[in-house]
């Protein structure tokens, strides 16, 4: 498309005439790369303005004929990353692309679409699966009676999930099946990406591009590239050269336990140096960490399976010895359903195989939640070759940690708050891969990390806006970053933090800092719930209820609400408390209160970062 065409298109947009003219002038004569950059710039500007990507404006029907719409629903940024990558490549390939986060997309557009890709992850609360927060509205719409027939739509879905949860990719499947039921044509089979997202996302993206080109036909013209080596200008030019695939090697500056002795509980405050990396991040972002499995665990696995760590294994075009495969490239601490099924078959274990059947959902969940590879192979022996093992085990995925610092205060450092996952199985020590790895890093050691941006979890752009932060346990991490940032910004809005843990004396994370923040007025209010300091358990949701009237007043007055931490119990319990509060003090029925909160969510004023 020529820049003239782009200018024409812009002129058709619902901008005031003067602005439309300016916009048309602005894009005149720009090359594709510059245009792409500009689109990122505009989106960024919109996000700055609203804390949200700009809602995608309605488009006349004739234009939806030729465009590709890519919707994503993402909680922790994976789906977003894949969707953005696809959009980028599609644009480069000359396609007209409408990329939108699910909650920024007008569902009324749906019936006008001709070509739609959906990239969406599955989350869960307890046993029930849930869409990412940004996709609640979309899923509600799709599954409701209001959803239109879509006979002209061709589509495909990439579902993101994690096979260590019993219902793998449930939301993506739901979307896929529903679109078909609404009469749309599935272009190609649904992709189901596991924790190692890219091994499925990459081929899916390639297929999606090829199908889109076919569908869009000859109208598409490849966009000129900026440099001869074919590197595409990234959408977010601000982010540095480091990425998930090219992590930065960061030096550990501090690895400090921040809980007092408490029945073996361990939470670490970890400071990493980003010096020289050029990496920038914002409060709300997470840090991805590539762990390495402990030698002791790798040895135990090798020993139990009677495999030779030095044997060479070629897989996916890479040749490494088995030990290195297991240490740096495969999950050992988390099991997956496909692996369990394969293992059961190999060892001829009918009882184990039975667990992978749909009716044994709960038992499987239990097994996935409490057994590691070693426990499985010990209890249900089976023979594996090195080669087979490497291809059956899930590739190692990086772990995310909410960033607990603001660069405004810490400069080229990034701080984390990491709860050590450890327990015993048959009297033997077991641990989580990444937390064990992090726990054992000494000052001066290094870790491979990258920034996982999370635009859905951002401080309000308006420094006068109040914020309510609910972050029990390590959920408090991003709020340390928030408070630091607001302090540096001299924000005038009030900040109210809800924190909880078991005991004030031993696990009041960052107690001294919060006390100081209160004295400095960087924190307006701190409500704490220490569940085991009294006979009956008290949690943050109880503190919320106690302060219900004021919570409502803050919310009603425009406060932004944030929840971070445990997804299984805390987040739903807190939500329930909020519903009650909004109902009681806002004079609403429970349903209205819930809808009111969902609306806040849709507006980006109620953000969750739960795990």
């Amino acid at each position: 498309m020529s820049t003239q065409a782009v200018a024409n298109q812009l002129a058709a947009l619902p901008l005031p005439p003067a602005k439309a003219r300016l916009a048309a002038e602005l894009v005149q004569g720009l090359d594709g790369a510059s245009l792409t950059w500009l689109s990122g710039y505009m989106a960024g500007a919109a996000a700055q303005l609203h804390g949200l990507p700009a809602a995608v404006p309605a488009v006349p029907a004739n234009q939806t004929d030729t465009r590709l719409t890519i919707l994503y629903g993402s909680q922790t940024g994976n789906a977003k990353r894949v969707a953005e990558g696809l959009a980028e490549q599609a644009r480069t390939a000359g396609l007209t692309v409408n990329l939108a986060r699910a909650d920024a997309y007008r569902t009324s557009e749906l019936k006008k679409e001709r070509l739609l890709y959906v990239v969406i992850s599955t989350h869960s609360v307890g046993d029930a699966i849930e869409p990412p927060d940004d996709s609640r509205g979309l899923i509600e719409f799709l599954t409701s009676k209001r959803a239109p027939k879509l006979p002209e739509l061709r589509y495909a879905v990439l579902a993101l999930g994690d096979t260590s949860y019993p219902d793998f990719c449930g939301i993506g499947r739901q979307v896929d099946e529903r679109l078909q039921a609404l009469g749309a044509t599935r272009l190609f089979a649904r992709g189901e990406a596991d924790a190692d997202v890219d091994s499925v996302a990459k081929p899916w993206t390639e297929q999606a591009l090829a199908k889109a080109r076919e569908t869009a036909g000859a109208t598409a013209q490849p966009v000129a590239r900026t440099s001869s080596d074919g590197v595409v200008t990234p959408l977010h030019p601000a982010s540095s050269a480091w990425s998930r695939q090219r992590p930065f090697t960061a030096e550990v500056l501090v690895n400090q336990r921040i809980v007092a002795d408490n029945h073996g509980k361990d939470v670490r405050h970890i400071e990493l140096s980003l010096e020289g990396s050029g990496i920038t991040y914002q409060p709300g972002d997470a840090l991805g960490v590539w762990p390495r499995q402990a030698d002791a665990l790798v040895n135990a696995v090798l020993e139990t399976l009677k495999l030779d760590g030095d044997s060479k294994v070629e897989h996916d075009g890479e040749t490494r010895n088995l030990r290195e495969w297991l240490t740096a490239h495969r999950e050992l601490t988390a099991l997956t359903k496909p692996f369990i099924a394969a293992h059961a078959e190999r060892g001829n274990h009918a009882d184990l195989a039975a667990l992978t059947q749909p009716e044994a959902r709960e038992q499987l969940a239990e097994l996935l939640g409490t057994y590691q590879l070693l426990d499985l192979v010990r209890q249900w022996p089976a023979t594996w070759t090195a080669q087979e093992l490497v291809s059956a085990l899930r590739p190692l995925a990086p772990r995310m940690y909410s960033i607990a610092s603001s660069q405004a205060q810490v400069g080229e450092e990034v701080h984390l708050t990491v709860a050590y996952v450890h327990y015993t199985h048959d009297d033997e020590e077991r641990w989580g891969a990444a937390t064990h790895y992090l726990l054992n890093l000494a000052e001066g050691d290094t870790a491979r990390v990258f920034i996982d941006t999370n635009d859905r979890f951002r401080l309000p752009a308006d420094p006068a806006r109040d914020v309510i932060m609910i972050g029990p346990g390590t959920g408090v991490a991003p709020f340390r970053a928030f408070v630091q940032q607001r302090q540096e910004d001299g924000a005038t809005g009030r900040q109210w933090l809800f924190f909880g843990n078991q005991h004030r004396r031993t696990d009041f994370l960052y107690q001294l800092e919060w006390q100081q923040a209160l004295r400095d007025d960087a924190l307006t209010r701190l409500s704490v719930a220490f569940s085991r300091d009294q006979e009956h358990k008290i949690y943050v949701q109880d503190r919320l209820r106690e302060a219900g009237r004021e919570v409502w007043q803050w919310l009603d007055g425009g406060a932004q609400l944030y929840i971070c931490g445990d997804a299984d119990h805390m987040a739903p319990d807190v939500h329930a408390a909020l519903v009650d509060i909004v109902a009681e003090h806002g004079g609403k029925s429970a349903d209205e209160a819930d809808a009111w909160l969902r609306q806040l969510m849709a507006e980006g004023r109620y953000a969750r970062d739960v795990y």
């Binding site: 400090q256 004396r505 009041f508 107690q511 919060w514 704490v528």
Partner: protein, 566 residues
Amino acid sequence: MTDKLSALEHIKADSRYLRGTIAEGLADPLTGAISDPDTKLLKFHGSYMQDNRDIRDERRKQKLEPDYQFMVRLRLPGGVLTAPQWLAMDELAERYAERGLRITTRQTFQFHGIRKEHLRDMIHGINDCGLSTRAACGDDTRNVITSVNPEISSVYDEVFGWALKLKDHVATQTSAYEELWLNDGPADPDAWKKDAEPLYGKAYLNRKYKFGFAIPPNNDIDVFNQDFGLIAIIEDGKLAGFNIAPGGSMGTTAGDPSTYPSLGDLIGFVTPDQLLETCWQSIVVQGTFGDRGDRKHARLKYTIDRNGGLPWYRDQLQSRLSFKLAPPRPYHFTHNGDRFGWVQGEHGKWHLTLSIQSGRLLDDATQKRRTGMREIARIHKGNFRLTCDQNVVIAGVDEADKAAIDALAAQYQLDEYKTASGIRKHAISCVALPTCGLAMAESERYLPTILTKMEVLLAKYDLLQEDIHFRMSGCPNGCSRPYISEIALVGRAIGRYDLRLGGDHAGERLNAVYLENTDEEHILTALDELFGRFAAEREPGEHFGDFIARVGVVVPPARRPALEYA
């Protein structure tokens, strides 16, 4: 006298009779502490805020506040409690305290490691069984102590009765105590307006004030260590009255020679019916002249010494009394310290004094003495008396019940008094680390180590059975009354102590520094030599401290010139 009031004087005066913001502080969920001014007021209610100093730095790195906790001290006149009360205290210690029961040098119990959220329940629980913590600490009249002297039962009973009356007579009156710890429901915000402190005034005393009754020939309470010492005068087997001896106390400040330990001196005699008036007026004198600007020089000893000495003081007191002070009457102390084992009193009942190292009753892997005492309390029909040497007397035992108590004492290693060396049985150490905020060196935790090393030396000279008084304090405040001891270590820094020598066996002579700010090696070398000399050169029956003073190893300080009586 300093004119400017110390900051604490304002805190007290503005506290609405010791309320301050204690209630708000207790309710603050963000910290295990209460505010600094409130910690000063809390003392008047019998509790100190402390923190576990062992882990202070560790917690700072953990971004956690210090491990705040509270020490709760009972007010226990004469150290007397009943068996059910013992069991109740044991139960409270189990439920809320971290380091068991701790018998203090003013014959009461301390509980350590109480969490803020339990403080009210703790104090409430103490009151529920008829005991109190009111004025156990603070700038007021402290626990009134009394010789346990079991042999002379009739006089003992009478003196103990006077101790109880004195406690009530000079008690603080504020209803803040009930309001904070005992009453349920919201406090009346105006209640303080109805409060009054006729004796103390709203700023209370300028400093702690201590009364103690000694019953000769036993000076087990170290009567000359009291601000206002009272010596029972027994004539014809009956209590005739009390000699009064003001101006004693131990506390000094390291490196400040204007502070000093001092023994009280006699200024007169009062009959029992004159006792309460005399004590009351002594508080009025201290309230009038005591320094309110400089807490280092605020105790009665400085009030006396800086204003004109004993004559001045006697005049001040006399001018406020409705009767004429009589000259002191004769008495004789044969010893301080406790006498261990069974003794029979006049009423025919038996009393067993047990030696409890540092007064700490705490079960651990190697011993269960606290359990042992609980078992004894379960079968004991009499009461208990805690001693100022941190020991315990099981008092009022029938002949028939002795065996059962002996058996329990043996079973729970409470009968060490039978086998322990003389120095070990009599040793006293203050609490010091990790709870005492003022400690400069270890004391209680170091005592077993240093005793064992000293015993090696004593054994060399066959002195293990010698009753040598050894007292250790973690700082110059002298809570173990080290300045009246034959051998004393006074902490100056971790691992460093002043070695003091030359006290007597009756609490009538101060000791003096022999080695200043030195370490264990030097201490042991010095003691080795002196024990050797003592064994070789002592006169028959001569005590170690008397020997030190006689041969001039140190020169003990003189006491105030004696008063003349018209």
